[in-house]
Structures are given as structure tokens and as C-alpha cells.
């Protein structure tokens, strides 16, 4: 493998506490090293910003509901399909890009790792086929557990060991990365057209509450000592007043301690916090509760969050929160797709237009920015758009612009039709904070990597770590004349390295890299009861046999990278 030296760039690396110092970064055999030989290829990074490759902690980029979005939205691609270009396969899709376009777009923005946020276990083979066809970036996928019948039945009796044994089995057979929970109990209720809107609403038939599910899953997660914590999309997403459910959910962490060997400190990751920070009782008195939510998170170190920034685009919403999508199609009357998945979960898809002329959309935009600006510890708050729910991930550079420039925010606020309402229902107008590049590196690199339990591998530039590196045409010593320059600089890297291979040069793809599938391989204690329960459920209730359930073989996971967990003690 070629050696490289990235010379003289302004380096921002929270892992080593480097805040813009001019430094050389050396690459050898796919890793960052102290020094390289004189024949190493030189990348001139003078007057440029150098960071680790960015880490996407939550996006819907591969799998059945994503592809359903592609299938049913030809209009999302009209006049915007891109041609084959050199080694780049053709691409399409504005809010739901094809797999090829997904990989290229992430790499061109300096992202090198991404997590698919919701994998229905029954469809894991599909998710892995798409991951395989997404070039360059390392990817993992989170199987959903919050409405799984095994989990509901075990946790009804608070059987943590059995839950953990099932969790280990499912992560192993689906090649999953972490425990995802979406609208716990509510999605099972959706099997009957119902929902659970608070943490205490009983799940029909199963005689359990969302609170019991979430708490039990956190305990099982720590029992196994998994790299990532439970990753939650709580009940009551997107409704006025939902922040109370959010706070009730967050309080379930109290008393639970993180236990793992991966440097992770939280026991719960709250995703797309923007959608869960709403006050008011109707859309008319809809208001921000970002302060209430971030106040709690600021105090409670066992929680990490991501933002879910609204980007003011036409996009496609998709979630395992089936009842929410049904609710949404009732609001906007746009086409509704739904898939209920036997014994496990559901998913819904509805297009959505976040119009700057609609006050609710503008307030959502403001809340998404308030959250990171109110978070005291950038290592516990990560930038996402919950792609494609609040906007496509390709808008990250714009979100970064808004976070780094008060001026850019003011320009946007001034352009809103209901500017006064945005200012009265949120505190976006009074937030002067502008994120530094160091904080940006925390929120997009070191922070999410740590939360995922990958902190020693990616998200930093310390020798020994993977050589995932982004070089941006952004000179931190020069004052920003126009905030749009920030957006431009973070849209296309000068160079992206993935595992030591240069994959992007001057914004163009120069290699398809060597993408890996990240998954968690768990050695767990034998549990005869759980093995029997699994066999029985397949015989009686699944529509396929247990022997055909696993994602097994080269065509699903051609280049696996397993994180080993020994949970036998």
C-alpha cells in the first residue's frame, strides 16, 4: 500500500486535543503513523483544514424502506440522474440516492463511516446487499428490537438474561451493529392500527409498557457490553408536546451504568432529537422545547444525542414508526407506503416538503439548530439530518454553515414568511454561539465514533487509528467573508482517504476503496430456553424457516469487519 504524508494542514483532532495546529499526518498500511519514508506521496494541505473522516451515526441509506422510497418516487430523480463518469457508476435520487451515489456523496464530503439506522431483522439480507453495493464507506446496520415479540415476552417478566441471549443471537445472524429501538411498543400496536404515545401506554396483548421495554433493553445491552448503547427513537415522535415523552424516556437511564470495553460512556443514544423536542398542544401553538431537552441531557452524562436537522428541502420521510407515517399522510395527503414485518417491526414512507413558507417547518428548522447550539459537550451531540427524514445527508455542508455562522442563520430567519413566529416560538434569534472547527470535529468525528464504541479506531488522527482522513479547502486562519464559503468548502473535499487509500481528489472519486461491513460478533452463554423459543417461533409464526434467516455468505457480506464481544462471563 502506498504511503502518504498530508503536509502542513491545519489539523483538528479532538482525540489528541489538536486545535488547528499545522501538522503533518502520515499514512502507512491503512493506518495513521508517526512517520513515513521519503518516497511517501505528498498531499499539500497548506491553508487547508485536516480532520479525521467523518462518522455518520444515524441515516437511512440501505434496506427495504429506503428502496421502497426509491421505487415509489421516480419524481425524486427527474432530470437529476448523473451519468457514468470514470470509475463512478451512474447515480440518481435527490432525497433517496442510489447505493452508488450514496457512497460517493459521503466520500466527497469527507465521510468514511456510516450507520444504517434501522434494519428490520427479517430483511437483513436485503440491507447487506445494499451495503455491499454502497462503495467506499464502512457501514454497519442497527437491527430494530423495540417491538420484537421475543423482547416483549421476555421483558414482560423482566428476563434480562434471556433478552440478552436473544439480542446476541439476532445481532449475530443479521450481522447487525447495535440495538435500535423505534417507538417501543407503538409499532407492535400499529399491527392493529393503534399506537403507544407515552412511555406508560400498555402494548396491546403483550401486557408491557414502552418504559419497561426501553429499560430492559438498556440492561440487556450493558449485560452484553456492546460497543454502542441502545439507540432510541422514542414514542410520540413529531407531535406538539412530545418533549414530555422524550424526557420521560431519557429519565429511564437513571440508575443504569455503562459497562463495556469500547470506551463508550452513555447507556442511551437519543436520535433525531429535533423531532422529539416539541412543545405546544396543536400546530397553532407549536413551540421549541430544545432548552428543556438539552438541559436534561447536559446534566445526564449517560446520554448522547444526534440532532436531526431540518434542511428545508423536499424529501422523503421513512421510519420504523409505522403509526407516525400514517399520521403524516393524513396531514399532507401524499403517497403512503407501509410495511408491517411479522414478529419484529414495521416501516412507513411518505414524501414531505419542508417549506420555508410554513411556520411549523421553519420552527422545526430552528429547533434542529438550537439543540447543538445549546449542548455544552459537543462530544455528546452529533450532527445528523436523520437522512432523509429531516433532509438529505447531502445537505450537511449547509447545516454546518448554519451552525458555524450566526450571520447565515439570520439570513435564513429573515427570509422566512413567518419570521416573527419562528422568533417567538424558539430562541434561535438569541443564540449567538458559532461552532468552532474543533467542535465540528467533535460533533461529526470523535463524538459519534466514541458513542458507537469505535473511538479507538476511527474519528481521530492518532497514530494507530484507521487512516480515514478528510482535507477541506478551508483556511481557518482566514476570516469567513461569506458564510456560503463554509458550505462550499465542506461540500467537496480536496482529498479523502479511507483506510489509507485516497478515494477522493479535488472532489472527484479516484478509487472505489475497500469498503467494509461493520458488525458485532458476540460470544454469548448457551441459553437452551432461548434457542428453543427461537425454533418454536419459526415453526409456528414466521413465514420462513430458521435455516434461511441468517445473512450468510460472501454475496451478502463480502468484506466483513467484526467487532468481537465476549459476553460469556
Amino acid at each position: 500500500m502506498a504511503e502518504y504524508i498530508i503536509r502542513n494542514g491545519h489539523v483538528f483532532d479532538p482525540v489528541q486535543g489538536i486545535k488547528g495546529d499545522k501538522k503533518d499526518i502520515c499514512i502507512k498500511d491503512g493506518k495513521i503513523v508517526d512517520k513515513v519514508g521519503s518516497s511517501a506521496k505528498v498531499i499539500d494541505a497548506k491553508d487547508k483544514t485536516v480532520m479525521a473522516g467523518a462518522v455518520e451515526i444515524h441515516a437511512h441509506i440501505a434496506g427495504p424502506k429506503v428502496n421502497l422510497g426509491r421505487i415509489y418516487r421516480p419524481e425524486d430523480k427527474l432530470f437529476s440522474c448523473t451519468p457514468t463518469k470514470g470509475m463512478e457508476r451512474m447515480g440518481s435520487g435527490a432525497s433517496i440516492p442510489t447505493t452508488f451515489k450514496t457512497g460517493y456523496e459521503y466520500a466527497k464530503m469527507g465521510y468514511t463511516t456510516a450507520m444504517e439506522a434501522a434494519m428490520p431483522p427479517l430483511f437483513s439480507r436485503h440491507v447487506h446487499e445494499e451495503i455491499r453495493d454502497t462503495p467506499i464507506i464502512d457501514e454497519g446496520a442497527f437491527p430494530v428490537f423495540g417491538n420484537n415479540w421475543f423482547v416483549l415476552e421476555y421483558l414482560k417478566n423482566h428476563e434480562i438474561e434471556n433478552t440478552a441471549a436473544y439480542m446476541a443471537w439476532l445481532l449475530n445472524v443479521t450481522k447487525g451493529y447495535a440495538v435500535k429501538v423505534v417507538n417501543p411498543g407503538g409499532t407492535e400496536a400499529w399491527g392493529w392500527g393503534l399506537n403507544c404515545l407515552t412511555v406508560n401506554d400498555p402494548v396491546p396483548y403483550f401486557d408491557i409498557t414502552p418504559a419497561e421495554i426501553v429499560k430492559g433493553l438498556m440492561e440487556a445491552n450493558e449485560y452484553l457490553g456492546l460497543p454502542h448503547s441502545v439507540h432510541i427513537h422514542p414514542n410520540n415522535l413529531g407531535n406538539p408536546g412530545c418533549y414530555e415523552t422524550t424526557l420521560d424516556t431519557l429519565k429511564l437511564t437513571e440508575g443504569i451504568k455503562a459497562k463495556n470495553k469500547f470506551g463508550r460512556e452513555q447507556v442511551l443514544h437519543l436520535t433525531h432529537t429535533q423531532f422529539h423536542s416539541y412543545g405546544g398542544t396543536t400546530w397553532a401553538d407549536f413551540e421549541s422545547k430544545a432548552k428543556e431537552v438539552t438541559d436534561y441531557v447536559n446534566k445526564n452524562k449517560s446520554i448522547t444525542i444526534d440532532t436531526g436537522n431540518v434542511t428545508l428541502d423536499e424529501t422523503t420521510t421513512m421510519t420504523a414508526d409505522g403509526p407516525f407515517e400514517h399520521h403524516l399522510t393524513g396531514l399532507n395527503h401524499l403517497k403512503w407506503a407501509n410495511v408491517d414485518v411479522e414478529l419484529e417491526t414495521a416501516a412507513g414512507v411518505v414524501p414531505y416538503i419542508y417549506s420555508p413558507n410554513i411556520s411549523v417547518c421553519a420552527i422545526q428548522w430552528a429547533i434542529g439548530l438550537e439543540i447543538p447550539l445549546m449542548m455544552k459537550d459537543p462530544m455528546r451531540c452529533y450532527i445528523t439530518t436523520d437522512h432523509p427524514n429531516a433532509g438529505p445527508f447531502t445537505r450537511y455542508p449547509r447545516v454546518i454553515k448554519w451552525l458555524m455562522s450566526k450571520k447565515a442563520r439570520d439570513v435564513q430567519v429573515d427570509s422566512f414568511k413567518h419570521k416573527d413566529k419562528v422568533l417567538s416560538q424558539t430562541s434561535i434569534g438569541s443564540l449567538d454561539r458559532e461552532l468552532s472547527l474543533y467542535e465540528l470535529a467533535q460533533m461529526t468525528r470523535a463524538g459519534p465514533a466514541k458513542s458507537l464504541g469505535l473511538g479507538s479506531m476511527v474519528g481521530g488522527l492518532k497514530p494507530g487509528m484507521d487512516a480515514d482522513i478528510a482535507v477541506y479547502n478551508f483556511n481557518p486562519e482566514k476570516p469567513v467573508a461569506n458564510p456560503d464559503d463554509i458550505e462550499k468548502a465542506f461540500s467537496r473535499t480536496a482529498a479523502t482517504f479511507k483506510s489509507g487509500v485516497q478515494v477522493v481528489s479535488n472532489g472527484e472519486i479516484v478509487s472505489n476503496g475497500n469498503k467494509r461491513t461493520l458488525w458485532v460478533s458476540i460470544k454469548a452463554k448457551e441459553n437452551a430456553q432461548v434457542a428453543r423459543d427461537i425454533a418454536e417461533k419459526f415453526v409456528k409464526y414466521y413465514s420462513m424457516t430458521q435455516a434461511n434467516y441468517e445473512a450468510l455468505g460472501h454475496h451478502f457480506v463480502p468484506n466483513p469487519f467484526a467487532i468481537e464481544v465476549d459476553a460469556t462471563n
Binding site: Y72, R73, P74, E75, D76, L78, L334, K335
Partner: protein, 266 residues
């Protein structure tokens, strides 16, 4: 207004995609420059000049440019694609996507057009002297935003799926119309002076359909609502009024449900 006349001299073996035959693409160009405009025969990139003889020159802007398309263009697609102004006259029949996504100007086709004419049209005027194919003035696949403005007149017959997802504008068909008229429409008007078959106004949310001739089978979702005297396109007549599609969702205005209207001449 300057006129460019393009005459087919080497007919394509397959079909020709000529989305550059539009006043917008021609504007400000000489005949020689127009001849260099790209066209595609299948995957084979070529130029307009290879197929057409080009005479005259374009005006400075689209609005100042008139294009006369002459010769056998039955296998040419996309004439007037996305045009915003000026004029296109096609002297014979032509193929799909005439005036698709057009925003302004005027297109006259002195023969027939195939499917997808006026797809998602926003403005301007289109006159088809012969027959129109399916999906006249309809939305693109998957899009709920169909034709929103402009006028289409078909002097002959029109195919199926006319005005699907229509939001505004007007389509007049002097002849007969095939199945599915204004399906899913939320606005706009379709006037048919001849006969209609069936599935007229299915899933319609809002908008107006006028049928001067017969309707073979009515949609069950259209409820009789009396008779009205109306002047439609210069013709005064008595119409039976139906409202629907009752099965579909409808908006309310001032507490009143707003239905789509179907008027059938008595």
C-alpha cells in the same frame, strides 16, 4: 420574430431524441450553430445538423424565435421540451413528449402527436390539429404535481389518462376521448366536445370536466346534482351536473366540501 426552418433530410434508423428543438436552445444561434446542437439516436450522440437541414436563424431570445419543423418527424421525440417562449410549428405528425414540461410560448402540430404531450405543462399554448396519444397534459410518473397552467387544444381525438393529476390550465378535445379523464386531478379543466368512454373523473379531488357527447359508463362516485345552464368554450347549453369523486378525500372551504365537477351536455 426570426424564423428557423429545419427539414428532415436523413431520417433516423431508430428514434431521435431532439430535446434541443426548442426556441430556448435555438435562441441567439446561427443556422450553423443550431446544426451543432446535440441530439441522440439511442445511445449514439449526434447533432441536429446530421438529420436536419437548417435554414434561417434564431432571434436573440426564445420569445423572438420561431421554429418550423418540416419533413417526416414521426420518429422524433421531445420537440418543444421545456420551452419557455417563442413558437414551434410542426408541419406533420410527430412522436412523444411534445411540449413536455413547457412553460410558455406556442406549439402547433399540424398532424398527430404520440403519448406524453404537455407532460406537467406550466404555461403556454399547444394546438394539435390531429389526434393526441395517451397521457396528454398528465403528470410525470409518481408526481402529484401535474399540468398546472397553459392551454392545450386537440382538434382530433385524445387517448387515455388525459389530465392525470391536473392542477390547473385547460385541455380541450374536439373529438372523442379514451378512458381516464382527470384522474386524481385537484384543479384545471378538461372539455370534450365528442364522446367519452368510462372512468371519467375517477379519484378526482377538484376541477371541472365538460362532456358534450356521451359517457358510456359513469363513475359510481359521481353523484347527480341537478342541471345547469352554462357557456363552455363559446357554446351555450344545458348540462347535467355531477359532483365527485365522492369516494375520494376532499377539501373544505368555509365549512363546505369542495367536490370535482362533471358536466354532461343534455
Amino acid at each position: 420574430m426570426e424564423t428557423v426552418t429545419i427539414t428532415m433530410k436523413n431520417a433516423p434508423a431508430l428514434f431521435l431524441e431532439a430535446d434541443t428543438i426548442s426556441p430556448d436552445a435555438f435562441a441567439g444561434k446561427s443556422a450553423a450553430q443550431i446544426a451543432e446542437l446535440p441530439v441522440f439516436e439511442g445511445n449514439n450522440p449526434s447533432t441536429l445538423g446530421k438529420y436536419f437541414e437548417i435554414r434561417g436563424g434564431a432571434g436573440a431570445t426564445a420569445a423572438d424565435t420561431k421554429i418550423v419543423v418540416s419533413g417526416d418527424v414521426a420518429k422524433v421525440k421531445y420537440i418543444g421540451f421545456k420551452m419557455t417562449g417563442g413558437e414551434v410549428v410542426v408541419e406533420k405528425s410527430t412522436d412523444q413528449y411534445v411540449g413536455a414540461w413547457m412553460k410558455g410560448g406556442r406549439i402547433t402540430v399540424k398532424g398527430d402527436v404520440a403519448a406524453f404531450a404537455g407532460t406537467a405543462m406550466k404555461g403556454g399554448e399547444m394546438v394539435i390539429e390531429g389526434n393526441a396519444g395517451n397521457y396528454l397534459g398528465a403528470a410525470y410518473r409518481g408526481d402529484w404535481r401535474g399540468m398546472s397552467g397553459g392551454k392545450i387544444l386537440v382538434k382530433g381525438n385524445a387517448g387515455s389518462d388525459t389530465g392525470m393529476y391536473m392542477l390547473g390550465g385547460e385541455i380541450t378535445v374536439n373529438g372523442n376521448i379514451d378512458v381516464h379523464v382527470m384522474t386524481h386531478a385537484e384543479g384545471g379543466t378538461v372539455i370534450v366536445r365528442g364522446n367519452a368512454k368510462s372512468k371519467v373523473g375517477g379519484q378526482m379531488v377538484d376541477g371541472n370536466i365538460y362532456i358534450f357527447g356521451t359517457i358510456d359508463v359513469m363513475m359510481p362516485g359521481f353523484k347527480p346534482n341537478g342541471e345547469v345552464e352554462l357557456e363552455v368554450g363559446g357554446t351555450k347549453a344545458k348540462f347535467a351536473h355531477f359532483i365527485g369523486d365522492v369516494g375520494e378525500r376532499h377539501k373544505k372551504k368555509k365549512g363546505q366540501v369542495v367536490y370535482g365537477n362533471l358536466y354532461k351536455k343534455i
